[in-house]
């Protein structure tokens, strides 16, 4: 099982000091967070994509390529790549390029984006979100798997004799996850292609995650990619951890109370009850996280959100130390002991290359 962190790349005022980091500071901080994730033994770093303040990450492949150069083992991913408003041709080119530079340590998570004005800024309409995600992704797959593409569709100019370069590393495109909080069509899309499904699992009650994952697993089996329990599932999660539970609650509360997404509403205790948020000791985070398996089954990837709401870099790095030293090693051991042998790990470049070598006809189909 893979463990990692994902960032939405927000620039938020630290409510305890009133200080807002500059873009320059926050961009350097995100690189440091990614490096630290590798240093403490985590597997994945995923970065969001936004095209409006207060977010800085408009160009994830630039950041991820820089991180790739400064790390050697870390898997680089996105959270999420906007499949609706980006040109699929540019996604195909950018991420194949990144894949080469990173030596294959790249996968992507597709998302639609829920910021209304971003769509018209990129010539699209949010009401067309699902059809855009469907058409653009179908084209993206062809651009990665076919050397020469003739294509026409509803949302971009037609292509005649187009070759997306560079070709994917070793002829194997990056693995793709699809993220959605509550659109069953996106779970269906992931299942249809045998891709991964990632549930945000932060802002909403677990029942939403449970239902979406159950539906994705059922459809994964229906589309013939394997049994339902072999489908590739990833979960988000939000934690704040200190050795002592009371210290964690006391330190995180002002960040929670003023957080951009859920602040000024329910109490930290209420939100912890209603959603997967866990604020407490390493043991509490371990127990809660192991409990995710009870409602989604054996899954392949767990990403934690730890750097939002104005938390200073020093605190985030301390969070990574605690995750790497006390939380993740236990989770690795416990999850591995529970997982049956026929449930696969998350695909990596190496495993996809190996799979193609053993069953060439399936991969090229």
């Amino acid at each position: 099982m893979q463990f990692g962190v994902f960032s939405v790349s927000d620039l938020t005022t630290d409510p305890t000091t009133g200080r807002t980091p500059s873009e320059a500071e926050r961009i350097q901080a995100i690189v440091r967070i990614a490096e630290k994730a590798e240093e403490v033994g985590l597997d994945v770093f995923a970065l969001g994509e936004h095209h409006n303040p207060p977010f800085f990450s408009s160009s994830p492949t630039t950041t991820l390529a820089y991180v790739a150069a400064r790390t050697s083992r870390l898997q680089l991913s996105t959270a999420t790549t906007l499949i609706t408003t980006n040109d699929p041709v540019k996604i195909a080119e950018d991420y194949a390029m990144l894949q080469h530079l990173a030596g294959g340590r790249v996968d992507l998570m597709m998302g639609r984006g829920n910021t209304g004005p971003v769509y018209p800024w990129f010539g699209q309409d949010i009401r067309e979100g699902i059809p855009l995600a469907v058409e653009n992704y179908a084209l993206l797959r062809r651009l990665w798997t076919e050397d020469v593409v003739d294509w026409s569709g509803r949302y971009r100019t037609p292509l005649q004799g187009f070759t997306s370069t560079p070709r994917p590393l070793d002829g194997v495109p990056p693995f793709v996850w699809h993220g959605s909080i509550r659109s069953p069509q996106i779970a269906e899309q992931a299942a249809y292609y045998g891709d991964g499904f990632f549930s945000n699992h932060i802002f909403w009650p677990k029942e939403h995650t449970q239902r979406m994952v159950e539906f994705y697993r059922k459809r994964y089996e229906h589309h013939g990619h394997g049994s339902a329990d072999q489908a590739i599932v990833g979960l988000g999660g939000q934690v704040f951890v200190r050795r002592n539970s009371q210290d964690a609650v006391r330190e995180f509360r002002p960040y929670f109370d003023n957080a951009p997404v859920y602040g000024h509403g329910p109490s930290l205790e209420e939100f912890s009850r209603e959603t997967p948020l866990t604020v407490g000791s390493p043991q509490q985070v371990i127990e809660r996280t192991l409990g995710f398996r009870d409602y989604v089954g054996d899954y392949q990837r767990q990403l934690f959100l730890i750097d939002h709401a104005g938390l200073p870099l020093k605190t985030v790095l301390e969070q990574l130390d605690l995750l790497g030293e006390e939380v993740v090693p236990v989770l690795r051991k416990e999850f591995a002991a529970l997982k049956p042998a026929h449930v696969p790990d998350a695909p990596t470049h190496a495993s996809l290359v190996a799979a193609r070598a053993t069953t060439p006809e399936e991969v090229s189909a």
Binding site: V134, A138, Y192, F203, R211, Y262, E274
Partner: protein, 205 residues
Amino acid sequence: MTTRTLAVVSAGLSTPSSTRLLADRLTAATVAALRERGEDATVEVVELREHARDLADAFVTGFPNAALRAAVATVTGADAVVAVTPVFTASYSGLFKSFVDVLDDGALTGKPVLLAATAGTARHSLVLEHAMRPLFAYLRAVTVPTAVFAASEDWAGGDGGELSRRIDRAAGELADVVTGRPSSARPADPFADVPSFEDLLRGQA
């Protein structure tokens, strides 16, 4: 004997409130009207006052918490709804509208609804026709023709029982609509009718 579920939404703020008092009168009359038509009824009351903070939280977090989810399920799963609000500043109360705002699209489509309101004077009575009924028309609910308004003076009983007659007429209309239809039409399950991906790819869904 068919048993129907009747959800009663009351947005009164004081305890006891005249809004709840009117809601109870309408409920008793509706249960009696259903019995006359050979049907039984179970009643579930949603006092919005108890969910005031849940509603505020739902706006901030984007999802209803467990207590509010239960209240929403009570209303969306009922065979009929009695909806009663006090008049605040020329319309239904903000608390009442907040509850309507957290319902999913289509949650009240085709649902038989009896509308009612309370206020200090009868000068506000057209709020039912100019605010409440358009709101429920937008929700595609089936509102019964008689909406019941009760001003403070109506509780004095000096109108020769006019309020009681309106309550009975509205309850009879609601019972007529309910008995003519199958039991508990639950809202559509979004996971049950996901189009096949081939249809999505062809742009047909």
